[in-house]
Symmetry: C2
Subunit: 356 residues, 2 copies
């Protein structure tokens, strides 16, 4: 076992939203200082020892930031490659460049997954409108056209119900490289949150069952109502991905449950909204697990000791927080965002529904 | 139900140690900003949105601090009364002045408890050395001589094994008003952490069983190995104290288990080291509970869904954190203190030993 970063070391976090905020608090719990890098409003800065407010293409600011940190991580995957280049020169960066490159590009991600022998939705690249008929021949309709890069919570996507809607769909891309994905007939959506340490050890949490509304995660429930064989499959899939990427940190894998088994929807190289339940159900939550991984601590074992329902508070659902907080076994997490906007994640609650 | 303080409000915390640090993070989880007031090094400041570094007798700084806060609380009870006067003029202060006055003075505390009909160790006030023979006649020997004010973790105390050691013991007080306490023959030490909300509602956690070493808490274990009738008694005692003080916030009550029932050792008007296990065993931990109470949120119910052993890391025991962190179900909390000193609380671990 190698020694972890010494007490008082600085963990740099790119991005100052709620994930960065919860990572910063987890870093503090392990005796580290957090330094947030965020161009705009940064609720994470309220719980961090330091904050840099600068654009992701500000080379000087990026390098000064990296120089002040012992390790750098991020709360979202859509970080410009140039920013990573500057950071990696001056600080350890986990997860590393490769994990980001795979997850930043839907085509690279799907190709990586199928090369690993994992099942995904049928997909095909779309460079221009002319590619679409051949692509739809692969995926069938209905299908979803998505930009290859910088998608999040359903943004940058268009549904193609029938081939004659294709031209209209392509128009919204503004010439950006895209991918078309076929639909998967699934009974449930689950996700598994897993981590790989600097020493190559792996720990996974029990898969959670996710319900989305309007393309945004609404609830995650553990245990998921699936057979234990599928739970094992989900954890094996996550482990295979972690090892193939020689990954360090926490990874989220979204999966569809189908009659033929599990199909990978997407991977997120970071702590994940569907892992928030671990704050109430596990001794070591996903945020502590990620900080453990990237700073060289042994991973927590991920054992679950409670059943939990995590419910996101989107937009003015934050006003329901008061009612929810009064319910038994309910833990509340609000993100300190100054402005409530429709579709914006304002907080979440974890409701413990019983011992595991 | 009244509305809680709005999102983005500021919770002021007097004291910047580990309790202030964990309170600041709990405030952030409820969408509040924390402002730490601390004359010296303040690990809590690393997770707070603002920090004032000034002495507790700096009137201008205290008033400016209070003016910047929507509510003020504290992480320890030995706050000069003058500081409270200045604070209370400009901000709501919870728990309030009376709770502090009772707990700041061992004589006032014991008198308050016995007036409530609760049992304590036999005690008697000691103004000068001349008072000691009469006092020891009340308490018997062995006894402990303690300064009435500003004691913590066994500091400012002297053991009197036999009456002829009395003079020597009094000398260490330097003329400070004191109290002598008799010994209680007890089988176990337990504590109960309970909260009272702004609306008068009360919630209590399951009592924990405490083991001290060298006068400092070493471990707290839940469940305590006591009959459920005593658990109920402990919670009723805490409730009686909370109501008598019209208290707002979290209170810790240390109790001795004796053949004749529970004897109150002392009360602490704040979150308490023996309540740290709630971070791993309950949906709402004592820190969130305290912030809920003082900001007008409904209290969490305190239900326990896991068995937990909390172990303090004192002085260079912090070096054991690495080994402990590798154990199953073990959550680690390090306080970010720059210097390791013997007897100093550097962190703690919560080990989940199973579902409740």
């Amino acid at each position: 076992m190698t020694e972890p970063l010494p007490q008082g070391s600085t963990v740099g976090i790119l991005g100052g939203g709620q994930l960065g905020r919860m990572l910063a608090m987890a870093a503090a719990r392990l005796g580290y200082k957090a330094h947030i890098y965020e161009p705009g409003a940064a609720p994470a800065a309220d719980v961090a020892a330091a904050r840099t407010m600068a654009a992701y293409d500000n080379t000087d600011a990026l390098r000064a930031f990296a120089a002040s940190c012992d390790v750098v991580t991020f709360e979202f995957e859509n970080i410009p490659a140039s920013a990573l280049d500057h950071l990696a020169r001056d600080a350890a960066l986990y997860p590393d460049r490769r994990a980001l490159e795979v997850s930043q590009d839907r085509l690279a991600e799907k190709t990586f997954l199928t090369d690993l022998g994992l099942r995904t939705a049928p997909f095909a690249p779309v460079g221009t409108a002319a590619d679409l008929p051949d692509a739809l021949a692969v995926t069938g309709t209905p299908a979803i056209l998505k930009t290859r890069r910088f998608g999040y919570d359903g943004k940058g996507q268009a549904r193609i119900a029938t081939p004659d809607q294709a031209e209209e769909a392509v128009a919204i891309l503004n010439g950006a490289p895209a991918i078309v994905e076929g639909f998967v007939a699934f009974s449930r959506e689950i996700s598994v949150i897993a981590a790989r340490g600097l020493d190559g050890s792996i720990a996974a949490y029990d898969p959670g069952e996710n319900v989305h509304q309007d393309g945004i995660l609404a609830t995650t429930t553990v245990p998921a109502a699936i057979p234990s064989s599928l739970k094992t499959d989900a954890i094996l899939i996550a482990s295979r991905i972690l090892n193939a990427l020689e990954y360090t940190g926490v990874l989220g894998v979204e999966l569809f449950v189908t009659p033929q088994g599990l199909v990978v929807n997407e991977i997120a190289p970071r702590v994940h909204n569907s892992g928030h339940w671990t704050q109430a159900g596990c001794a070591v939550d996903q945020f502590e697990q990620h900080i453990r991984a990237i700073t060289g601590w042994p991973l927590g074992d991920g054992a679950r000791h409670a059943n939990v329902v995590m419910e996101n508070l989107i937009g003015d659902q934050i006003d329901e927080g008061l009612r929810l907080a009064a319910q038994p076994g309910t833990q509340i997490h609000l993100y300190g965002k100054a402005e409530t906007r429709p579709g914006r994640k304002m907080g979440h609650v974890n409701r413990v529904t019983g011992p595991a």
